[in-house]
Symmetry: C2
Subunit: 261 residues, 2 copies
Amino acid sequence: MEKLLSPAALRGAIRSGAHTGNTSGYAPGFVQCNIVILPADWADDFLRFCQLNPRPCPLIATSTSPGDPALPPLGDVDIRTDVPSYRVFREGRLAEELPDIRALWRNDLVTFALGCSFSFEEALLADGLEVRNVTEGVNVPMYRSDMDCIPAGPFAGKMVVSMRPFAAADAIRAIQICTRFPAVHGAPVHLGDPGLIGIADLDRPDYGDAVSLYPGELPLFWACGVTPQVALEAARPPFAITHSPGCMLVTDLRNSRLAVL
Amino acid sequence: MEKLLSPAALRGAIRSGAHTGNTSGYAPGFVQCNIVILPADWADDFLRFCQLNPRPCPLIATSTSPGDPALPPLGDVDIRTDVPSYRVFREGRLAEELPDIRALWRNDLVTFALGCSFSFEEALLADGLEVRNVTEGVNVPMYRSDMDCIPAGPFAGKMVVSMRPFAAADAIRAIQICTRFPAVHGAPVHLGDPGLIGIADLDRPDYGDAVSLYPGELPLFWACGVTPQVALEAARPPFAITHSPGCMLVTDLRNSRLAVL
């Protein structure tokens, strides 16, 4: 599949089954979103959880009403077909992975689209910074920190953070760049000693892959979109759907339009 | 002397000799400037030095013409009388310290007013951050780094940096705040390991006083206004005048007006 397809054309290819799998690197310049779909009677608590924890859960769009598969601010989206791969959770446990969810759709389902680190990684790369997980061609390393999210109803848990190493001057520049993008996790939440946020060993991430940390570099830690997934699994709603890792909703929103300045 | 005097009233008190000495904490909310005064035949190189090294030498205003003691953008200023204490350098060496320089004024002198860290320290404190040198009531510790300034004619030298320690989350916030104020040194130039910028021992600053660094804190390093003074001494102009340390030009400019955003 052509990586430079427009977001609408890429969604069309996903909808028709011509594109399945990872969306990383596709439709550069456009926002890709983490997706969480919940029954309406769980949606209000999840919405509050996002609003209380905007750094790990930066909410970009929600359904206009339960059962409506559109997400108007993000383009001509049908959330039942436009994500390359879905994970279905029952009682908080992964039940199946599906290429579309038309057969499972219900008139009480509410969709949440959350910002993702692809957007700020693009801004870092565009500024000439090296993003280690991109250089090394691996998934970013993610760690369960000891920082508590603010609970909302059944949704609670520790903040998951992603880590990217930088030399000091680049770390300062990365903080400046990401500060402009609060809708995609914003500035790092920690830098330096991983032990101060409960991370024992950078070489053993809880999710993703370890990356090299060179002498003189500092690890920078960003609030991560895996946080709401962990909170979701812990809350054990009877039914929930998310995107599969790396298989995001590609939107018509430009990354640059997320910049607050 | 009343600390809450307006800048104009404070300059009047300084002009009349009623106030001598430090201006730290006076006229809160208003920009205070480092001052360098040079003969016109040295001024062009110094101006280029400032433009090439804006982080240690953030130029806020210059004379409109040689010999003119006014600095219109900064208020009703007479630079010959409105600084509490002046240092006179001859051949790069401190020759005398004087309460005014009317007797030394020449029609070829050019004044440079440079931003100072008081402005960003005020912004950090206003945001609820602790500024260690303020808490401990001492001068900020300053160090000669191994980072070269870009030379301009006879002006050259290493960048002097000031250091303030912060816990990681506060360090990130301090970077955000100071990024808004490029006219007063802007964001830090380094953080973390002092050895990476040629500083052997934080407890032995080259200027100012050592401050406490608590476990879990990172040292943040800002480009410092002592840099141009060191370059000035090394360049050995036959004649130059600066403010005495801590005895700044208090201007009518509000710190908030220096914010780029």
